[in-house]
Symmetry: C2
Subunit: 683 residues, 2 copies
């Protein structure tokens, strides 16, 4: 087995307790403090929690000791790997033996943390002394006990600290009880002992890990297009150069990730025709997901799209505009893929000698050969797929959209993603798995950065509320980053099979504001082409999956301006740049969904009429506490789409949402305290 290929990623070995100055080697029989139920954690530490650079990690734990002694509790954290020094963040008690603390993370990659705790004999002594003083007891011997504690601490310190501790110990032994008492209960001595007092028999929790991504993992706006349709020239197969020319259009709408379906050579055998017909006519271009032909496989570029130099140029131009190119990783082959000839052992063979094509009986997909991940030569298969991935990483790709990851083994993905991130921690992976919830969650746990969701089918307010509450609270929010798409080339929902502009506005606003990552498949979305191939189907008519389409981007009713505005609102409001902080508010109209997102002073309140055909009125009962608003103070609701401003006060508000004009409100909520001048000006 090559050195790079370990067949599975075991959870890291438990970290031994590191000795830092003033921490003795623990003898566990005397490590009396118990630490339990540390949060956040995913599957008892089997998987990391996920955060991005600059976020704060709030840690909680139960910690307690036998008897009445006082304890000190802290978080230890550092970049994983063992070389960096531990940093420490103090934890403070909440209620019921629960403690909390937090720290900020600055470096992408693996971080490790644990909760540590120890009996604080000085704090115990000081607390007891105060009770003795209050009861008027004699404290002569107690002062001597305290002096001994402080002297012990001094013996383990150097320099000024030791000198200062020794001075305190002398005062505690003073003949003047008043003087000794004063130093005994002084804040300064308490602080000194907290920082420099000996820590004996330290307990440490199970070590936990954090995977820290760059910020785009948390906050991104995706646009998908088919490169071969990226031109309006008649009779022309769009090229990567055409995509480059379209970057300005995408940038103006505010998207920062451009995802391209596979750009590799396409197979001939069993090629699908237009609208997914079984046989292709001459000139039919086939599905880009039938990867591989005589021109090459997963590391080649379709000759009609251009060359690797064109691709490198596209990456450069995109990056110049702040856009990243996301590449499709679809690990399957057309019958014409070079692997079929060169590595037949990677495929399953039928008794008649043919290679097993993809099936979901009774359906047959004869243009696709899946890999046999149970084959004896699985290790070389894994290595080749890693090589292909790294090939594109070397060409500057930092985001992959992975096609159907749930049809390849979970251990494979855990290994591949870890191998890539080990080399380039800024590479992101989006899981395209529209399948059962536990399967989707497992993919997120094992390393996928973001995941497609059921968003497209959550149209009712109750369903939105239920689903997004699950996605934005622990444990899910700690490992799963939803990326909401109103449509994809495979998903034209019933809700969008309409010419009602409001339907598209509603879905765009929900996608862009419920969670911090969203995307659309265009230009079909902004041009609102809602024609299905047949009634009851979610497939587009004349789908770009099987043919080239030409689009008139200048159509006057295009949603491009709305998308621009939405993306500007997202970029200027931190509340919309994270998945946490989502609260649903009560509405007496079951077709109107109302929610807020809060991040510090940034508060956004969204009201959406999910009925795209009729005006709906709703009386709202606002959760003011969730928005940090005092019920006794007026506040401003500033509609960032229409620029209308309202002065509200208290829990009750009424909205009227007309699909013909304003089917949604996206309010910035401004409290008096935040920006007094701006607030007063408009009231």
């Amino acid at each position: 087995m090559p050195e790079s290929l370990a067949p599975n990623i075991p959870p890291p070995a438990p970290l031994p307790l590191r000795t830092t100055p003033a921490v003795e080697t623990p003898a566990s029989g005397r490590s009396r403090v118990i630490i339990e139920t540390v949060s956040p954690q995913v599957d008892a530490g089997r998987f990391p929690i996920k955060r991005t650079v600059g976020e704060r990690v709030r840690v909680e734990a139960d910690a307690f000791v036998d008897g009445h002694d006082k304890i000190s509790v802290a978080i230890r954290h550092r970049p994983a790997g063992g070389a960096a020094p531990w940093r420490e963040a103090e934890m403070a008690p909440l209620v019921n033996d629960r403690w909390a603390g937090e720290f900020e993370i600055h470096t992408p990659g693996w971080q490790e943390f644990a909760v540590i705790a120890w009996v604080d004999h000085f704090a115990t002594w000081r607390y007891d002394l105060q009770k003795r003083l209050a009861a008027g007891q004699d404290i002569q011997i107690d002062l001597r006990i305290g002096a001994d504690l402080v002297t012990d601490a001094a013996d383990e310190c150097d320099g000024e600290v030791a000198a200062s501790l020794r001075a305190s110990a002398r005062l505690l032994r003073s003949d003047s009880t008043a003087e000794a008492t004063e130093i005994a209960i002084s804040q300064s001595l308490q602080l000194l002992m907290r920082q420099h007092g000996p820590r004996r028999f330290v307990s440490e929790s199970v070590p936990l890990r954090i995977w820290v991504d760059r910020v785009r993992a948390r906050f991104s706006a995706w646009y998908e297009l088919f490169p071969r349709s990226a031109t309006s020239q008649p009779n022309h197969h769009g090229t990567l150069a055409d995509v480059e020319r379209r970057l300005q259009y995408i940038s103006q709408m505010g998207f920062d990730v451009l995802y391209l379906p596979p750009i590799h050579p396409i197979g001939r055998a069993f090629r699908k025709g237009r609208n997914n017909t079984a046989t292709a006519e001459p000139g039919d271009t086939g599905s880009p997901w039938a990867i591989g032909g005589p021109e090459g496989g997963h590391d080649a570029i379709h000759p009609d799209l251009g060359t690797i130099d064109d691709f490198d140029q596209l990456i450069l131009s995109a990056n110049h505009l702040g856009i990243e190119i996301a590449m499709d990783l679809a690990f399957q082959c057309s019958p014409d893929h070079p692997y079929v000839k060169n590595h037949p052992q990677w495929f399953k063979h039928r008794p008649d000698g043919s290679i097993q094509y993809a099936e979901n009986p009774p359906k047959k997909y004869q243009d696709i050969y899946p890999f046999d991940f149970e084959c004896d030569d699985w290790q070389s298969l894994w290595n080749e797929l890693l090589r292909v991935t790294l090939h594109w990483v070397e060409h500057g790709v930092r985001i992959f959209r992975v096609d159907n990851p749930h049809t390849k083994p979970f251990p494979f993905w855990e290994w591949l993603i870890s191998q890539v991130k080990q080399r380039e921690p800024d590479v992101l992976f989006l899981a395209e798995a529209f399948t059962r919830p536990k399967v989707m969650y497992r993919l997120a746990k094992l390393g996928f950065t973001q995941s497609y969701t059921y968003f497209a089918w959550r149209n009712e307010p109750w369903a939105i509320r239920q689903y997004y509450t699950e996605l934005t609270t622990p444990p899910v929010v700690d490992f799963f980053r939803p990326n909401a798409w109103p449509n994809t080339p495979d998903i034209l929902t019933d809700y969008l099979q309409t010419d009602a502009r409001a339907a598209y506005i509603v879905r765009a606003v929900l996608a862009a504001t419920l969670c911090a990552n969203f995307g659309i498949y265009g230009p079909v979305f902004e041009l609102m082409d809602g024609r299905a191939v047949r009634p009851g189907s979610e497939e587009y008519l004349d789908s770009e999956k099987y043919q080239i389409r030409k689009w008139d981007l200048n159509q006057p009713n295009s949603l491009a301006d709305l998308l621009s505005r939405l993306n500007r609102i997202r970029k200027s409001n931190p509340a919309l740049q994270q998945d946490r902080g989502l609260t649903f508010h009560r509405s007496d109209n079951q077709t109107v969904v109302v929610y807020s997102k809060t991040q510090g002073d940034s508060v956004i309140l969204v009201a959406v009429n999910t009925d795209p055909y009729h005006t709906q009125w709703a009386n709202l009962n606002l959760d003011l506490a969730a928005m940090g608003i005092d019920p006794g103070e007026p506040f401003q609701a500033h509609d960032l789409l229409t620029e209308a401003r309202y002065r509200w006060q208290g829990y009750h508000a009424t909205v009227g949402l007309d699909p013909g004009s304003t089917p949604v409100h996206v309010f910035a909520i401004r409290r008096r305290s935040r920006s007094e001048a701006d607030f007063e000006y408009f009231l």
Copy 2:
């Protein structure tokens, strides 16, 4: 460090996957099935779940694989230690990728179990074949694929199974498609392949442990008395022989555990007087918890109580009546304890050279020296306390009531209990920790068999409902066994400081029916002596903790008969012999609490008026489903205390509970289906 003394009990090392016939050594890269969220478990397997001999263990797990393949899932279990062969129980799918199965445990001690799962290629093939047949597809090649799968299985079997599989494979290759199809979808071949088909690339969950106790751990009735008060002879210090004479009385009330406060020599120095006065008068007997005098320490018997031979005789006589003697383990010393002279290093010393007595400032307990578990000689201290415990085990003690375990280190208890159970798995430990919830739960997790609870202070129906719901559902029910006591020598609650007989009946019935373990401290309880030492105190006046009391057991208003009846009801109704199966029912009177317990056909419904002074009526809304009752069928409610029988039907019932006559109902609920004759007779 002596060999017997490991300073901590680490969780057992992960169990390697054992190969059993037809299971290949797993190559984890091809072990595609994922197993998650196995239940029951306690703190991710750090601690065992608890069960008793004869119980069934229901296991659930999430299990799923990439793609569309069918999987098989099973539980593997065996006595821990590695020598016994694995037994297997099949798991069946529920919904949403969750699987369930169960098995019964027969042996006390450690058991280990895990969930295993693998891709079932034959089941996948059979399922697909049926879909192909339904679609009318050609299945010639599929039949050959199936024949290959069956031949592969045959190659790994011997004898008749191999022959049978080979015969099936031949039929699958038959020229007659009809014949081949018939065998392909036959139940018999499916069963054969399920049992003998190869299991490749098996996945295994994290291994989990069960601690299996004997039945009394789950179901027991405790009676506590002070041996020195166990006689009515005037001017006589009760003896172990007096206790022996009282066994018949205890047995007639139906108790099966007799718990004795410490029977060791009592210290003289700082001995407490009657009613906990600071100085003892001549003749005062002191507190039995001030252990140790010139006559000996924790392994000695107070000379006034008798000899070790008397103790052995008491154990024998008790066992003869089905009663076990529970001994007190109070690990603390009087200043006169031999340890103080012989092992001064086990105690904390003050700067003036004196030994540190127990304190909770400003309170001082100068008659008690606690051990210093942080002392350098902690290992010999641990070993000595283990020796003392085993000394009593050798004298036949199988139940210990541990005094204030929360004031000694948790690692010590985990080690001590494990050391004792390793030698004698039938030894039980009751934790007397009335402290914060997480501390109490930790003690239960680390090995205590049963635990005292907050029961004494849960008098309101809402509080009873909340607390007992927590105690009888996972995760708590899997590691914490509540033992409910209406009173103890330290706890005379405000509720019982009354001469209202109903108050005592209410508390006895609640204790005896809410959970399966309960106890009383008598004879003060059955004689209803509710006098507190002073208003606002929970201490008894003339407490037996500090003096000898004489009791007239023949008082006409004694509750002994009620307790007899309650214990008989408990013994004949399995529903009351376990903590699971508790359901609270709705009552429109907030002073009346109503709950049922169900175990198979055994159903008990209890209604309690918690107001001991006034009659209360309540309209009930019964959860019939929880009692297995069809709303359309009549059922019988048979009051086991009064022998009254009611015919009820539907959700609604009314009870009137008069403190003067019937403050409670304890109904056996009989469904028509269960005992037709008995049911009809009374309707």
